[in-house]
Amino acid sequence: MEQPDTGEITSTTSSASSEKRQSLVSGSNLNRAQPTDENARTMIDVNHVNFYYGDVQALFDVSLSVPEKSVMALIGPSGCGKSTFLRTLNRMNDIIEGTRLEGSIRLEDQDIYAPAIDVVALRSRVGMVFQKSTPFPKSIFDNIAFGPRIAGTTSRKKLKDIVEVSLKQAALWDEVKDRLNDSAMALSGGQQQRLCIARTLATNPEVILMDEPASALDPASTARIEDLIFELRKQYTIVIVTHNMQQAARVSQYTAFFYQGRLIEVGQTQELFTNPSEKQTEDYITGRFG
């Protein structure tokens, strides 16, 4: 693709789109999303990844790195490969038959696609929150305790502590502390999603992947999830897929724009939203397509 220089882009930007962009930025908490230290340690390092569903290639030569304890938002139109990319990071794509990955993805210093890597161990380090909240049809307590239990924690007291800490981290404790034995299915949609986040936290991961975690929620619940992500990024590395550009601007320090299976642009969120270097990024974030 053509590589127009940045100066040209700014000059060719129509007044309408710059206005739109302006509103997008001013309506967000972008000032909160200050990028972290440039010298931060790299948590996830993706190198020249091609990904295939059978014969269909879904990702083309994707390379990027996610710094530790930061939030990276993956944006792009539907079907652009951002969810596929997210699922390569904890190898959830392995569940789908006939998938294949070329290139390497490193978590800290380990290639997670190396033959010696145990997916089960990997997934307890890289947790995942899905678009549709998926509480298990069990009590709230058992939902949170599931992760630690399968990892071998049996002490009731220890489990209680983990459940309490995780629910507090997910800002759900005050709402559910008196009904931990009630079914998780009775919670509201927003509460269920925070429960799923708490459940992921209970396994003590280093990275949390979120696949449009707030897309099915009302604005108030969405705000709570975003506040939560804002808190969590102090301790965890977070990669979040979102269709909501304001959300990307609000919660992330880094943004990657995917289009048709290719990573078009990745950079600091503020930079990418105010001064994208690629025409396609500009068109997407100003709403001209997608």
Partner: protein, 335 residues
């Protein structure tokens, strides 16, 4: 859009009439089956009136209709179902789990899948012939006159297994297991398939192994469906006559398997449980079939009807259990 209201109304009334007609047709279909069932039940109950009592349950077969009872057949059927459940549940559910949760989709699994459906449609008499060859005679590997017995010491007692199995309970139970296995597997697969994949993904994403996912998430959610399928299959098995005819359920015997006629007998002599699978037996449908063949009109009319009433009672009880298990587990998994 530019139809006049009257045109629109005339078509509407036709549509409503057709709708009503279809409802009427469905109602007739339901009533027909209900009436046939009611006539059948009432005639059987009417004929058996006065014949079903405690003595009928306690007595064995007798030449005199008034003394004849269903005791041996009742216990035969009881053990037959227990053993059939023991064999078919682990194998059936295990196979379903493998096919649904583990097996990759390829030509081989498709082949298995298609043939499971075919096996479910094979007439039961064919299973009877298979059971006769495999379990009763064991391909004539052992010479009948030698009375080969495999003896296994178990603590204070010992387990004596005759080889071949001959016309014993275990042959019947294994044959019935073969008969219902395809249905058990297919219905278990259906209920496993109805568990949302998101549940599995959530579990795997938390670092659970396949087995932990199956045990903690998939199986509990699928158990109501699996249990219903299993119990309905067992209900079918308890009414089967043809395959048992082949594998030699005895016509008239006057003892119960292992001599057990109640929980008291088991407590008094627990070792008798080990004799049960290798005991000669008869079962309720066989007993009814034989009574109907009798010359004496009392056997044909009344004693057989009394047997049918007991058999139907047991079936009803089993189906009620299926409903109960379904409800109980549905409450336990908190959807």
């Amino acid at each position: 859009m530019n139809q006049t209201p009257s045109e629109f109304d005339s078509r509407l009334s036709t549509r409503h009439r057709n709708s009503k007609l279809f409802e009427l047709f469905c109602l007739t279909a339901v009533l027909t089956s209900l009436i046939i069932l009611a006539v059948l039940l009432l005639s059987v109950i009417y004929k058996s009136w006065g014949w079903v009592d405690l003595d009928f349950l306690r007595n064995h077969h007798s030449r005199k209709p008034e003394d004849a009872g269903i005791n041996a057949a009742f216990w035969g059927s009881f053990w037959l179902i227990i053993l059939t459940a023991l064999f078919s549940i682990p194998i059936g559910v295990g196979a379903a789990l493998y096919l649904e949760e583990y097996a990759r989709k390829n030509k081989f699994t498709t082949f298995i899948q298609v043939n499971l459906a075919n096996l479910a449609g094979v007439p039961s008499i064919v299973y009877g012939i298979l059971g006769l060859t495999v379990f009763v005679r064991m391909f004539d590997m052992f010479r009948a006159e030698e009375d080969t017995v495999l003896t296994i010491s178990l603590f204070v007692t010992q387990l004596s297994i005759p080889l071949p199995f001959g016309t014993t309970l275990i042959s019947g139970a294994l044959t019935l297991s073969l008969l219902i296995l395809p249905v058990v597997i297919i219905s278990s697969q259906e209920s496993l398939r109805s568990v949302p994949p998101s549940l599995r993904h959530a579990s795997l994403a938390l670092g659970a192994t396949e087995w932990q996912t199956v045990r903690s998430q998939v199986l509990p959610a699928a158990i109501p469906g699996i249990a219903t399928g299993v119990i309905l299959s067992l209900s079918r098995a308890i009414g089967e006559t043809a395959p048992l005819l082949m594998v030699g359920a005895a016509s008239f015997i006057t003892f119960t398997p292992g001599g057990i006629e109640g929980i008291g007998d088991v407590i008094a002599n627990p070792a008798s449980l080990l004799e049960v699978p290798f005991s000669k037996y008869t079962c309720m449908p066989m007993q009814i079939y034989n009574w109907v063949k009798f010359a004496k009109i009392e056997f044909q009319e009344y004693v057989a009807s009394a047997g049918i009433v007991i058999l139907l009672g047991v079936l009803l009880l089993m189906n009620a259990t299926a409903v109960y298990i379904r409800m109980r587990f549905q409450n336990k998994i908190q959807w």
